[in-house]
């Protein structure tokens, strides 16, 4: 094994063939320019979803809501939603904070759309099918959005669908038979052709103009 080349720091030996500072500085300037340019181009040349305020999602078909029905007993189909932007949110009616705040934020954003409002649909998927009976669900979503679709399925269906949508959740017992549900507080935007576009964390919904702008961006030709 050849150990002829001594490591640097060993008596401050300058290794043979290493560059002078001017060459190094030139290289660093060149690499910096290339890196900055690449990052700039990267941040500009992104798929449609990346141009939105929401965080882009891979361009995949929106998962079907298998095993769910709406409050009228109808099956939800993405084909029926063609031509509409759809906002999907998993929550529950007993949620003390983020669910009502999120739905209120969505309502504020949609109010800004004018005529385009008719081409947006909100889908509320309950994580608590035991307490969220169809009448309870309908009354809940009606208090925020008159045309929202509320979906309800078995616990098994909820578990499978939440996994498909990247929503994590868990039941937290509060004693005396009460419980709440910790869950991902994100809204997913689905394009008018039924494909995943972007995801909005709660912090991204606090500015109603952001979501409204994104919806205009994908709905206006």
């Amino acid at each position: 094994m050849n150990h002829a080349a001594p490591p640097s720091f060993a008596g401050a030996v300058q290794q043979p063939g290493r560059s002078g500072w001017k060459t190094s500085a030139l290289r660093a300037a060149l690499v910096s320019l290339v890196l900055l340019g690449a990052l700039l181009v990267w941040s500009r040349l992104q798929p449609q979803g990346a141009a939105l305020h929401g965080s882009p999602l891979p361009d995949l078909p929106a998962p079907a809501f298998t095993g769910f029905v709406d409050t009228q007993g109808g099956v939800f189909s993405w084909r029926q939603q063609r031509g509409r932007a759809v906002l999907v949110f998993f929550g529950y009616t007993h949620c003390p904070d983020v669910c009502p705040l999120t739905l209120a934020a969505l309502a504020q954003s949609l109010q800004r759309l004018g005529a385009l409002r008719q081409r947006v649909r909100v889908v509320f998927v309950t994580l608590d099918p035991t307490r969220d009976t169809p009448p309870v669900l309908q009354a809940y979503v009606d208090s925020f959005l008159h045309d929202a679709v509320a979906l309800r399925g078995s616990l098994a269906a909820v578990t499978a669908s939440a996994r498909q949508w990247g929503v994590t959740w868990r039941r937290v017992d509060a004693g005396a038979g009460n419980y709440w549900i910790d869950h991902t507080a994100a809204v997913t935007l689905v394009s008018p052709d039924g494909r995943l576009l972007a995801r909005y964390g709660y912090g991204q919904l606090t500015h109603p103009a952001w979501l409204a702008g994104d919806l205009r961006h994908i709905l206006e030709p």
Partner: protein
């Protein structure tokens, strides 16, 4: 796999990278009869790379967990991989046939520029499009941070460094850690949420977005400690004592 996570190809890329690294390292370590503890350190670095990749695959889950994964990739995996290679072997990277790449990747100026630009570009909100930090790009960003971390840490370790004086390397390391410290301070002491794309944790962890940001800042503080400790070591320890234990 969730839809906000990575496609299988991204996972395949990470596993292929680790497999290639282990194979190359294994052959070199076997031929050179490298110390067993270096092999353990390198394998630990590879395993931690995979663990960090897991943490990167869904950056929307939590800003704190995303920061842990990014910092682990850049500040823990990088030195582990380098220390897994003996200093005398690292020293040979500066000579042909490695010189073609080492004049760029092991140049102290280039390493510093890349490290600082990526640290600021990825972590400071508003410097680049916020879409840089999402599940579509977290894989390449993790890889970039790993590469820049290896480049920077190489300057602080005997053999791979281009810096001839220990005190210069110490100063270099300390200055290089400043951007991380500044970002960490901004995140920890900010009174408002700065980087909304990460913030999706209100219910999941019972943390408010602002709390999550504060914890992410603390993570970055902690992640910069190994770099600062190494820099302090280079500044304080006499060369004679350090040569005997060159990592």
């Amino acid at each position: 796999m969730t839809h906000n996570g990575w496609p299988l190809a991204a996972w395949g890329g990470w596993f292929a990278l680790i497999a290639a690294m282990l194979l190359t390292y294994g052959v070199a370590a076997w031929r050179g009869r490298w110390a067993w503890w270096r092999v353990i350190v390198f394998v630990a670095g590879c395993l931690l790379t995979l663990a960090s990749a897991w943490g990167l695959h869904n950056p929307l889950a939590s800003m704190t967990s995303y920061t842990i994964a990014l910092m682990s990739m850049g500040q823990i995996v990088s030195p582990l991989l380098l220390v897994g290679v003996p200093p005398a072997v690292r020293s040979r990277w500066h000579a042909p046939p490695h010189r073609a790449w080492s004049v760029w990747l092991l140049d102290a100026w280039v390493a510093c520029a890349v490290f600082v630009i990526l640290t600021l570009g990825v972590n400071l909100p508003g410097v680049f499009n916020t879409a840089l930090a999402n599940s579509l790009f977290s894989g390449p960003i993790g890889l970039l941070l790993l590469i820049s971390g290896v480049m920077f840490w190489a300057q602080l370790l005997a053999g791979s460094t281009s810096l001839s004086q220990r005190w210069i390397a110490g100063l270099y390391g300390w200055l290089g850690s400043l951007p991380m410290m500044i970002i960490a301070a901004v995140w920890v002491w900010s009174a408002q949420v700065l980087y909304t794309p990460y913030l999706d944790v209100l219910c999941l962890w019972n943390l408010s977005p602002l709390d999550d940001q504060h914890y992410a800042g603390l993570v970055m503080f902690v992640a910069s400690l190994p770099l600062q400790l190494r820099a302090a070591w280079l500044l304080i320890m006499p060369a004679d004592a350090a040569v005997l234990k060159a990592p």
